[in-house]
Structure formats: C-alpha cells, structure tokens
C-alpha cells in the first residue's frame, strides 16, 4: 500500500529537510566558535589538530555503525571490537605484521559471518551483536590481560603527518564524508544498500541477493571498525581492551544526530561525520568552559539532547 500523502507536495517540507541537515553542522560550528573564542590559540594548525585528532577514530566507527543501521540493524559490539583491534595492533603489528593482518582479516570475516547468522536464523541483530561484544572483549583480554603493548612507530608517525593547508584530522573527515556520500548516496550499489534497509522485499524481487548485500555491508562495516581501532591505537600508542566501550553508544548517537533513522534506509554520511565530531567536541567544550567536575557528565548529555531536540522540532518527525 502506498501512502498517497507521500505524493502531496507540502510547501516548506524541503526547507525543513535542509534545515534539519544543517542543524548538526550549525551545532558543530557554534561549539568550535565558543572554543576558539575562549582559547584563540586553538585556532591554529597545531590547535585544530589537537582538538580534532581524537574524533578521527570515532568518525570511522560511526561510519561503520551507519552502514549497519542503514540495513535496519544495530551493532552493539563496535566499542569492544575497536578495543580488540587496538589490542591486536599493540601486541602483534610491530613484531608479527602478517599475523596481525591475518587476525584482523579473520575478524572482518567474523563480521560477515554475523550478517549471515542474523539473516538465515532471522535473529534480532541487537541480541547477536550484544553477544559478540562479549566475545570481542574476551578475546582482547586473552591477547592483552592488562592495558599495554606498543603500536609500531611507523603507525604513530603516520598519524603525526602534517599535510599542507589543513591538519590531518580535517582532511580525513572531509575524505570520509566525500567517500561515504559517493558510496551510499551516489553509486548504484548505494541505492541497493539503502533499499535493502528500507524495503528488503522490493530489492529481493528485483533480483538482488539480499544475503549478499548484507554480508558485503557487514564486511565493509568491519573494515571501517578495524580502521577505527588502528587509528585509535596510533593515537594512544598502546592497546587496551576497555579503551572504547563508549564508542558503541556514541557511534549510534552520531548516526541519529546526523539525520539517520533506526527504520533502515535513511542515512546521511556527511551528517554522520559531523555528528561524530560534535560528540567528540562536546566533552572538550565543557572542559574549556571549566564547569565544575560534578556537572560535566550530565552537561555532555544535555548538549546532545538539545541538538537532537532541535532536529526533531525542525523536522517535525521522530528520528
């Protein structure tokens, strides 16, 4: 059944759509503005680099989460998976690079396998990935019982690169947004991907193999999450099973903040990148404002709630 209202052009709806897309960007700009106003020193190549380099792994993790959410699924294992990757990098990458690569490839394979399990057994992804989060945490603890290890020097050096014009984190964010936008919104496969989330039956009827689409998407998400872990271990120079449990909820938050929706098929890669940056800057903003420590955690939530509420108000629909 088609909803006839969908064909009625409501004046202003397009503008609302644009407004809601611009809102996270606006929030990000306001945050940056306040930080630069409090601390003009931050408005420099070095300052922006320091301010944003921790948002890079979160951007990559949020992109991975975006792919899963676009299928109408949700990945609760991404935080502990990123932690697992940092452990593999810190323990094996310097001494046995081939072994490290093999483990990470196998981990991506497990992601693809998870997609099959969810599809063939019709299991809810939320339960399967919650189970997987404990699997990854357990494996991390086997590899690295207490935080430590050392990321190889070439990797930390890579993240210390000083590209021209803009600091590395900005380049990565722009690149991630551009690639994501092309792959998901512009390429023909992106259409199929979004269709598989929004209307899987129609996609199956037009001859696409649903299970293949889902396996490819999960594997791609696994790749992005591996990248997130590699970048994070380069920044922290070490591995830690519990380095990023917060990434699970922050990545989901970034997808929703950036205009995505749990119903599947509705996502915005550019919005996700901006959402992830907003999340990682929220904490920084509070420390620049020098709020008393007891208020900080709650205030972080309040900032995000405000941005989200603003989006719902502008859009007039539930995220």
């Amino acid at each position: 059944m088609l909803d006839p209202a969908a064909f009625v052009h409501r004046p202003g709806s397009v503008r609302a759509e644009h407004l809601s897309a611009a809102l996270p960007a606006f929030a990000l700009a306001v945050m940056l503005g306040i930080i630069f106003w409090i601390q003009p020193r931050a408005l420099s190549y070095f300052g922006i680099n320091l301010l944003l380099n921790l948002s890079v792994p979160l951007i990559l993790a949020a992109m991975a989460q975006m792919l899963i959410i676009s299928l109408g699924d949700i990945d609760l294992s991404i935080g502990s998976f990123v932690g697992f990757v940092t452990c593999v990098v810190a323990v094996f990458l310097a001494s046995a690079p081939l072994l490290a690569a093999a483990i990470l490839l196998a981990a991506i394979g497990v992601y693809a396998g998870t997609a099959m399990l969810i599809f063939y057994r019709s299991l809810p992804s939320i339960v399967v990935t919650l189970g997987m989060s404990f699997v990854w945490l357990g494996l991390s603890l086997l590899i690295l019982p207490s935080p430590g290890g050392l990321a190889p020097d070439w990797l930390t050096g890579l993240l210390d690169a000083k590209p021209p014009l803009l600091p590395l984190p900005v380049w990565i964010a722009v690149l991630a947004a551009a690639c994501g936008h092309w792959a998901v919104m512009r390429s023909s496969y992106g259409v199929v991907l979004r269709g598989a989330g929004a209307n899987p039956k129609a996609v199956a009827r037009s001859g696409w193999s649903l299970v293949r689409v889902r396996v490819v998407v999960y594997a791609a998400a696994g790749c992005l999450a591996v990248l997130a872990g590699i970048v994070l271990s380069a920044i922290t120079t070490s591995g830690d099973p519990n380095v990023a449990p917060a990434y699970t909820l922050l990545s989901i938050g970034a997808v929703i903040l950036g205009g995505g929706s749990f119903t599947g098929g509705i996502i915005s890669p550019v919005g996700v990148v901006i959402g992830a940056m907003t999340f990682s800057l929220a904490a920084s903003l509070l420390s620049f404002l020098q709020l008393p420590p007891v208020w900080q955690t709650g205030a972080q939530g309040a900032i995000l709630f405000l941005v989200l509420a603003g989006r719902v108000l502008v859009q007039g629909r539930k995220p």
């Binding site: 070095f46 320091l50 070490s238 917060a246 020098q290």
Partner: protein, 370 residues
Amino acid sequence: MQSTASSLFRVSTRRTPLLGAALALAALLALQASPARAEDGVAKADTSQKRIGFSNSYAGNSFRQVMVKSWQDVATQARKDRLIGDSPVVSANNSVTEQAAHIQNMILQGYDAIVILAASDTALNGVVKQACDAGIVVVSFAGIVTQPCAYQVNYDWASYGKQEIDYVAQRLKGKGNLLEIRGIAGDSTDRDISAGIHKALKNYPDLKIVGMVYGQWTAAVAQKEVAGLIPSLPQVDAVVDQGGDGYGAARAFEASGRPMPIIVMGNRQDELAWWKQQHTQKQYETFSISATPSISQVAFWVAQQILAGRKVPKYVEVPLLRIDARDRDAWLADTPAGGVANPFYTQGLVVSIIDANAHRKPLPAIPAPK
C-alpha cells in the same frame, strides 16, 4: 583506589610534533629565565601566575570525591597565598579517550603543568608526550602513566604489607597464626599489598597464614567472609588486611566468641572508633595504616615546586599514613563518620617528602592533626 602497576617502562620514539617554533622558543626562554635550580628545601620562584590543570579519570566513588575536594582545598589555599594562579579539575567518566581529549585541551589552554590521575597507565602516553613536547610539566599520581617524561607520585604498596608483618611479628615475638584479608581479586593494588605481606613473612618462619578471604575493602563483606571462615580455623593471633575491612573482621570475631586477635586497622572512622572503644575497655592495642585520598595534594605541591624551579626526582614515593595509639584520638576527632583519615599536606611537608626521595632517606612521618 585504582592504581595500575605496569612493568612496561619503555621509551617511545615518536617524532616531536611540530609545535610551531614560537612555542618551543617560549619554552626555551622560560627555561633560561628560571632561577638556578634549588637543590633542597622550598623553591621560592614566583608561581602566582602559573596554572595547573588536574585531569581526573573518574569521580564516581567516595574516595575519588574526597580526593578531588582535597585538591580544591589546597588549590584555594595556595591561590590565597599567591603560590599559584588557577588550578581547575576536569573529570572523565572512566574513559581513556575522553581523558585523552581533556589533556589535549589543557595543552591548548596553555597550562604550565598538568596533573593526571590516569584511567590507563599506557593509553595516555601519546597525549602525555604531546604535553611534554609543548614544554608542560606532567605529574601523574596513584593512577600513574608510564611515559618516561612524566613525574610519578605514588605509594609503595609493598611497604604497606611489610609494616603490618613487622608490627605483628614484634607483638607476637615472631610466632603465631595469621588470617589475611585481601581486597578485590585481580586488582593491582590488592596484588602489591599481598605480595609485600608474603615477602615480609619470609623473615619470620614461625608466622603462618592459616586462612585467606577477599573482603573487597568494605566492612560488611569482610565480616561475612571472615565469619564464614572462623569455624574452620585454629586460634588466630593476628589479622593482616588492606584497610576498610578491619571493623568487619572485628565484628566477626566478636560474634564467634573467640579471643580477639591483633587486627591491623585501615584509618577508616569506624575502625578507629572501635579501636578506641576496645582500648578503653580492655587495653586493646594495634596500629592503623592506609593510603590517603589527599595524595592529590602531594601531586599539587610537586607540580608547584617543579614550576618554582625545584629539582624533583622522576619518582616521588609518598609515605602511607600510619596511626599509632598516641595519635589515634586526634585522627578520630578529625575524621568524619563514614570517612577515612585524610591529612592536609602543606607545602613544607611535601617538600620534606621530595627531599627524602632525592636523598634516598626514610620518608617523613605525617604529623597528627592538632
């Protein structure tokens, strides 16, 4: 108290981030302009305009809250005395990435020193290196970081166990049965205190550990665990523990009707109060020892002294607070119900701790409150 011990002291060979020549030059000039480094005693260079940021990994339990409050108290006092500019606290929610971001912000805000209670002893090494490269003094305490450019302020947990065994051996003339109460399984502090106990026991072949329970540093858990074990034990002459569990053990022995062993106390208000009451009734004797949340104040003064030009060793060991019978009532009067004895570390006291560390001399005792 989450303290992480790691044997991975390693030198990371990251390339120095490009700070802009200006910053490096400024640091260099500041170094040139600082007065001749004082060898001993209080360094007096003007630090009234200097700023120290405190990055705390977690503020969600009572120990940490007292620790943050101790920092704020000493910072307020030091600002009144024109010894420091401003020294705010930023707490992360036990998340390494969040804390790393906080430290990066402090680098941007141009703090002269950053004091860190770390969520992980290795994962902050990257940002700590960035701070050192920016010419910032980094002091980590209790939850230390292993990056070699940072100063470490910490307890020697093994000495905790040694002082317990030495006292008990002297009281029992080297012969008797001991019950050991441990903290939380898998915790590094628990491991280090217990290792200190067992190492010290090697000097007294006639002291035997006849039982062991995990009391989780809380009276209620210790009471339950000890009560469950007592029936299977021979006579217990002394209880060695880790603090917070002494009162619970005492209650368990009271209920069992057995003779009261020497229970080492851990500076908690309930432990000191019980000890005082037993002493008035039955001439009961023991001693009390523990870490103090106000170790944050030691880290504060260490940072202030480095900024003032004092030469400080990279590792500063802090004395545990030991309370003997003569000071018991003074500490008890000074400790709120439900709290733990928490001395106020003055600049003079911390400088004498630094001096003792610099010359490898015995650490000074912490004076009782007046």
